[in-house]
Symmetry: C2
Subunit: 494 residues, 2 copies
């Protein structure tokens, strides 16, 4: 494997701000403290850093100009969409340029015959669906932040959402990207076809967290809007039973559009907040959505209802109408802010596990909760094993933030230990760098750095995110030993 | 963009065969002309080259040994599965080692609870489905060669099949790969989860045609076997109407498990060969398969039948039973050998186009057929726009092979011109190198070479395949000018 240096060699030239001002419109360069403040963090607000300068280019040529200047001056660049990311992928660098794509907010073309749309990266996720609605089409991936988050950020993080069980992640719903490399060169990856010849750079770019190139245009797939969507809500008196029901449902061959689980603390918090009519004494609820043609949905609802009752559900409700279906979702969608009312702060994790490990992992999380003395509420995309434990803490109590971070780290390492991964849909960013050291060995991380270097030899695009340096992993390993034991010294690889 | 040298610097050491003999079991090293002969081509038999030596390792350690020796001696290595590939991806090099994975033929583990199987790369595609059948599961991608082709080759070429419209290509049906790099290091990519953190090396590896690493283990997804599969056969009096019917069917929101089209020459050839009862005077037939739960399939059959008649089908047959369904497929599956009976030789192309361009492209192919004086029969995966024109020629007539190749090249360039790609599921190999120059510009090809170099800095893994050198593209461009005009001088990029 090629060797990659651990340190980013930097000698930023202070003249870059003046140069940017000379080359871009006045309103496109921000550098006063008041102007910079809104950019100091993304959705992971625990990490904050004011950038050296913010640029808001309006054209492809201006993005090329910015990148060429940064390349020549060896100044790092962090691209930013709507800033809703939850792993700190858009956290600025003190000595870097923050490149906002907010002004790339146009839907360029909708092709209803082929079911595609060409859009700029700053377009909001939901705006694509709104624009496609006139043709009976929609864009499937729906992160919780879809009102606000941008499609460029979705591509950078390979975002999911409650419907990704049936419709896939962002990578399964895009066809083509236009990108600008760190040297300012424009290039395209992908094709309007199932596959693109040569190396699959489209998938490589998706989820690469701004480390390889800057996205300036995206062709997405649009799907026909289903004739009907039907909601079910099932209550269980144990989390194990709910987990087993999920496994049986998936094994039956039915793929729900969404299949979400909430545990009792999450149910109580949501119910107190939005009064969705959830059974407050249930140990777990499943919210299941089935979509498709009316006749097919009718059949599947019957089948799923039988299956859930047979799997031990104490109650299965079938939404009488769309209003009741939306009510089932209301609690789930409000779960994060609802939990926010229980505690001054919470920390949202995003691990993925094989479905069969659901019950085991929840038990271990409960034990960790007692160990750290921090409450936890669990909300997750049960169908694809993507957990979102919400760790409750109070940042004003000295030491609680650190404890919450350690707790979160333990949860992610547990996910890896049972054969899962440290992130499902939020990306690694700065948040999960240490856990990447647990998931990948040094050869595997080195290979990722080598691929990054093939696009960005000087390490200027979002350095320090997504893939940890070996130096950092060595330090993290040492920290674990310092705690008295190497927690997961020999993870079984197979 | 980094610059990549155009030429592969080689100084092979003649001692490598002796060294391989010392380090591997006797029966694992083949070097006499008789032993080498079976390896001189894959399924693209027009290209033949005897390798310097063939190795058939039996263990991961032996593969590591082979790669370390080749790396140290700077000897190129071509990996080979079952040798059924249609683009020459496993064509040996005169001065290279041919590394056969044929002895990696074990299914290591089936996990019915999680719907996964761990297999070695030499396992036949169909053998996975056979082994999973006891659990009511199957492996979805089904290339025509599935009786013979190996799963490792499927991953290397990102193979499809008649069911990839609904179930995706190989990349959508695998979870994890264990690989050995050119330096002999073992590494893993992917995870048993929807997404894997960091760069998506799993997708990058899939379809990389042996250029990045050698696959030694694969974790595939298994799906529940559908309760029912139902076939329909629709006849049309024009290819345009059949194409329009395909577009309407997809736009309706129904995703058939398979949706295939054959034109009149293909229909006649197949009917004469297997007597499937096809309507021989139809301009085109569509074969549509719907699968899922019985109740859902019943609904969809009714809906599709109505839709096809409404779209102008002159006849729609619904298979009365599974025997009749298989009979519908019999002609389609026999199309290649059937066409082979019409002509001493045929050349199978594999372009992909946006569905809306189906009728236009077929008209242009007809015009090219007249221009070259070579007959053509069209068989294709209509649902995903993947064409397989079969060009009929006689290799014993001087000049006909060259004409067939030029004709094929023109078809692929036409695919690119209408917004498609030069390969759907057969890979680029050596066959479509020139057309890659049409699809990608020099920056894009250079970027692919840079990614290859991040894995294989000395260019030893399957050099000369899949991604053309810029030198070759320059020569190819020059050749086009020599014909009197640059055929597609300014392809519209959007």
């Amino acid at each position: 494997m090629p060797r990659i240096p651990d340190e980013r060699p930097l000698s930023p030239q202070p003249g870059i701000i003046d140069e940017l001002r000379r080359r871009l419109p006045t309103a496109s360069v921000l550098s006063t403290p008041a102007e910079l403040a809104p950019y100091e963090c993304d959705g992971l607000t625990a990490f904050r850093q004011r950038p050296m300068v913010v640029v808001l280019p309006e054209t492809v040529e201006q993005v090329q100009t910015v990148l060429r200047l940064c390349h020549a001056a060896r100044v790092p660049v962090v691209a930013r969409g709507a800033g809703t990311g939850l792993s700190g992928g858009a956290l600025p660098l003190e000595d870097g340029v923050l490149l906002s794509l907010a002004r790339f907010n146009r839907i360029l073309h909708i092709d209803p015959d082929n079911g595609t749309a060409r859009v700029q990266p700053g377009v909001r996720n939901l705006a694509i669906t709104e624009a496609a609605a006139a043709h009976g089409l929609y864009y499937a991936p729906d992160p919780s932040s879809q009102i606000a988050c941008s499609i460029g950020g979705n591509v950078a993080e390979n975002s999911g959402g409650v419907h990704c069980l049936k419709y896939g992640l962002t990578v399964h719903n895009i066809l083509r990207l236009t990108l600008i490399g760190i040297d300012g060169e424009l290039f395209e990856v992908g094709a309007e076809a199932l596959d693109s010849p040569g190396l699959d750079l489209l998938a490589l770019m998706t989820g690469s967290e701004g480390m390889l190139a800057v996205i300036v245009e995206i062709t997405v797939k649009l799907l026909p809007r289903p004739e009907r969507a039907q909601g079910l809500l099932a209550a269980f008196d144990s989390v194990e039973r709910a987990g087993a029901a999920v496994a049986r449902l998936i094994a039956s061959g039915i793929t729900p559009a969404g299949l979400e689980m909430m545990d009792n603390p999450a149910i109580r918090a949501a119910e107190a907040f939005v009064h969705a009519g959830y059974p407050e004494d249930a140990a777990a609820v499943l919210i299941c959505e089935l979509d498709g043609f009316n006749a097919e949905v009718s059949f599947e609802v019957m089948r799923v209802r039988e299956l859930l009752l047979d799997a031990g559900a104490t109650e299965v409700r079938t939404a009488r109408d769309d209003a009741e279906r939306l009510n089932f979702w209301k609690g789930r969608k409000a779960a994060f802010p609802a939990v926010g009312r229980l505690s001054p702060d919470y920390y949202c994790m995003d691990g993925t596990i094989p479905r069969r490990e659901l019950a085991t992992v929840l038990k271990r999380i409960e034990a960790l909760s007692e160990h750290y003395g921090l409450r936890v509420a669990n909300v997750f995309h049960a169908g694809d094993g993507n957990l979102h434990p919400l760790i409750l803490y109070d940042a004003n109590v000295p030491g609680e933030l650190d404890k919450a971070e350690d707790f979160g780290g333990d949860i992610l390492e547990l996910c890896v230990q049972v054969g899962g991964t440290v992130t499902g849909e939020h990306g690694v960013g700065v948040e999960k760098l240490n856990q990447m050291c647990v998931q990948f060995d040094s050869d595997e991380l080195t290979q990722m750095h080598a691929v990054k270097a093939a696009f960005d030899p000087h390490g200027l695009l979002n350095p320090g995110k997504a893939v940890p340096t070996l130096h950092r992993c060595a330090e993290f390993g040492a920290m674990h030993v310092h705690h008295g034991e190497l927690k997961f010294p020999e993870l079984p690889r197979f």
